[in-house]
Amino acid sequence: MAGSFDFALAIGGEAGQGIATPGNILTRLFIRRGLYFNAYNAYQSIVRGGHIFLTVRISDAPVYTHGDKLDLLLCLNQDTMDRHLGLMGEGTRAIFNSDSINPGNPRQGVELCPIPVGQVSGSRNRLVQNTIAVGATCALLQLDFGILQGSLEARFARQGQSVVDENVGVARAGYEYAQQNFTPYPLALPETDRPQAQWMGNEAIAMGAAAAGVKFYAAYPMSPSTGVLHWMAQNARDLGIMVRQVEDEIGVANMVMGAAHAGARAMCSTSGGGFALMTEAVGAASMMEIPVVMVDVQRAGPSTGVPTKTEQGDLWQTLGASQGDFPRLIVAPTSALDAFHTIPEMFNLVDHYQCPGLVLSDLLISEGTFSVDPDDIDMSPEINRGKIITEAGTGNGYQRYKDTEDGISPRAIPGTEGYVHVVATDEHDEDGGLISDEYTNPYKRRAMVEKRARKLNDALDRVPAPALVGPADADVTLIGWGSTQGAIKEAIEQLAADGVTANHLQIKWIVPFHADVVTGIVNAAKKPIIVENNYSGQFYRYLRSETGLTIDSHIRKYDGEPFMPHHIANGAREILAGTADVFVPYQEVNV
């Protein structure tokens, strides 16, 4: 965090209390002001009730996680107060509706900000407390009311002037009440000259697909991947994308394969259980040499597990998807923005190699909300469709599975005159003819296995090697993969403040895997520690299978919640102190 301002607020209440709205009003207001933010919403698989806790961390410099601490707590119900007040520290504030919420005893230095909502708003509507709280928040942040008013006007314009007026009035009442009764924060909300945009990770994935030229998208709803479907459905008409909700994930994967075979760039997304149902199609796509991209947004497993909680638990599922040996690519993007860029890269690779590409996101990335610099939203990435034939020709001697030197065989798209052929999930000869059904030929079989495998021989050249960030001689090397990037980065800053130097190796490409580069880095490290958001060390086990490296120190978490930076920093400290080999942080906040 290089910013001068680092502020986190949280809104807690139950499902159905409309927490998303104040959250959205505030984040919009922040990004218009050019601020960066990172938001994590802890919620439950229940439509009304339960506990929702939205943390929004704001800064004038990029923020990579929702952070470790709260400055402001907005309690929409008693439960939030009971769960979280005890964790608020010196200099923080807690805003709540004193008509219905009982504060309890805060720690020293916490300013309670009770608002008698009924009296202040003159309304009995249970949703007004949200707007009051937004007004009060702006007051505490010393924001000019006009800015909030502008935001509210924009947001409610579609619902008519009376709704606008009501909201502005209520917000103003909250604003003024706070001004009169509570102490504003010492640092006022800053402003930069670059307004930001905002997205959820799933939107970033969907936009990456749109940018890659995806014209066919199919899904079966499954948390936490459904946001991709929603974005796609919303934008289908504008972008000419065929979007389908299918009867099940098997249908999804096979439909996507059919569309890809017919020449469209095609993608699907799901979570672990849906991906389990898609695995047979992964092998089929590889055998038929059809390029498809499948996204698995991981959630806490096994099985139905905890649908609204995060985990990095599906790595081995992607490594072991479908029977037999066959080429597949696997990547784990490290942030929403990275996911946005990764999807087009993956499409270029699968088109080049004519095989399936699997993308491992997780709830932390996919359902997190983040600011993004509009200039980073490049919707015109390079597109390379590989060896593809779409022009009519004589097709003289055309062989769909020609045993070429690099294993890649030109792919004629059905409908193209002159290149009629059959693709098959059975083993086949260069023509696509079925060797198993015509006669069984071990030489052809061997040749085709080798042809397919050979395709990936140069794959390492096409994906960047992971790089070590930070001083070469650091006390510890923190190794993560995928979504832990931000938390590790901030943990390293915390360690530095403590006098512990740490460097950082974040792995994104799983297959192909830069084993030599990683081995070199690990061997040179003083104290390598692997950080993963799962129980069994799935990445470590894979790393070891690829390199033989033995690493003794691990930080793991598998309680459904993502790492907070201090979890990792604490783990590194304990490991350095020799008090732990496998450190599993305790989740302090019962979110």
């Binding site: 919009r28 289908a236 994308i241 098997i250 890809a260």
Partner: protein, 295 residues
């Protein structure tokens, strides 16, 4: 559906490969009929995509001169749907067996039918699992003895025709592959029909199903066309489909017209041609609109 190219004959639709079906297998008749129907419709090989699953019958795409995809057991309708939506100019024919289509692939059958997507669905129904050397299929008769039911099948067979009608298929026919002319006409009608068209074909497995042999059908099949059946009447269609005894009906049981296909209902296909061939680039204007909503 015709192009400028020369009119082809059924022989032009033979691939170079000789079917490896058992001599006498009903599937030969289906292949033959499909080839004739394609020729009669003036189609060119590259305009057709046959999509099959896995089974003896599902080897068909290898034997017809057309684009083909020999996909996973049970999944051909899903693959065919994806291909049809990506390129709705293709003539999309899913060809498969009863186990593949009504057993493991049953759910795709239900949902593809209700979408009324313009696919011709040919099921070579031999009432047995042929390729796996003879186990009951969902259409095997009660009491049938097979390797998996050595003491007789105890599960009531399903009726693909009444199912298709209730699922929303808009062309529902049954053929007997020993009658190539009739089968050709029904397949041709199915391809011409706009919407989801099922042609369930009795296609005897001469090796593993000795109960439902060519003789069995020859003695029993009776054409609806010769009985004055009205294919617009779904109730009559269901009744005729349920008859099973000395007379077994074949022909066009049901046809629903004026029912929009998925392609017609889907606005993304309204203009711009097949999505598979559209420009992949996102325009500045499109980007602008997206980013604006994010701010």
């Amino acid at each position: 559906m015709t192009t400028g190219s020369a009119q082809l004959t059924a022989a032009n639709f033979r691939s170079g490969i000789n079917p490896d079906w058992c001599p006498g297998c009903g599937d030969f008749g289906v292949l033959n009929s499909l080839q004739r129907a394609c020729a009669e419709l003036g189609l060119q090989p590259h305009q057709i995509l046959t999509v099959s699953g896995i089974g003896c019958s599902s080897n068909l795409p290898g034997y017809i001169n057309a684009y083909g995809a020999h996909t996973l057991h049970g999944r051909s309708l899903a693959v065919a749907t994806g291909a049809k939506l990506a390129n709705h100019d293709l003539t999309d024919v899913a060809t498969r067996g009863d186990g593949d289509g009504y057993g493991i692939g049953g759910n795709h059958f239900t949902h593809t039918a209700r979408r009324n997507i313009d696919i011709t669905y040919i099921v070579m129904n031999n009432q047995i699992y042929g390729l796996t050397t003879g186990q009951i299929s969902p259409t095997s008769r009660l009491g049938m003895k097979t390797k998996s039911t050595p003491f007789g099948n105890v599960e009531t067979p399903l009726n693909p025709l009444t199912q298709a009608i209730m699922n929303g298929a808009t062309y529902v026919a049954r053929a007997y592959s020993g009658d190539i002319r009739h089968t050709t006409a029904l397949i041709r009608g199915a391809i011409e029909h706009k919407g989801f068209a099922l042609v369930d074909v009795f296609s005897p497995c001469v090796t593993f199903n000795l109960d439902n042999s060519h003789d069995f059908f020859k003695q029993r099949v009776s054409k609806l066309e010769e009985q004055g059946h009205d294919p617009r009447d779904w109730k009559a269609a269901c009744e005729r489909a349920m008859e099973w005894g000395d007379t077994i009906n074949i022909g066009l049981f049901f046809q629903g017209d004026d029912i929009e296909t998925l392609g017609q209902r889907e606005p993304v296909l309204e203009k711009g041609g097949p999505i598979a061939h559209r420009d992949l680039a996102v325009t500045d204007e499109q980007r602008e609109k997206i980013v604006r909503r994010m701010m």
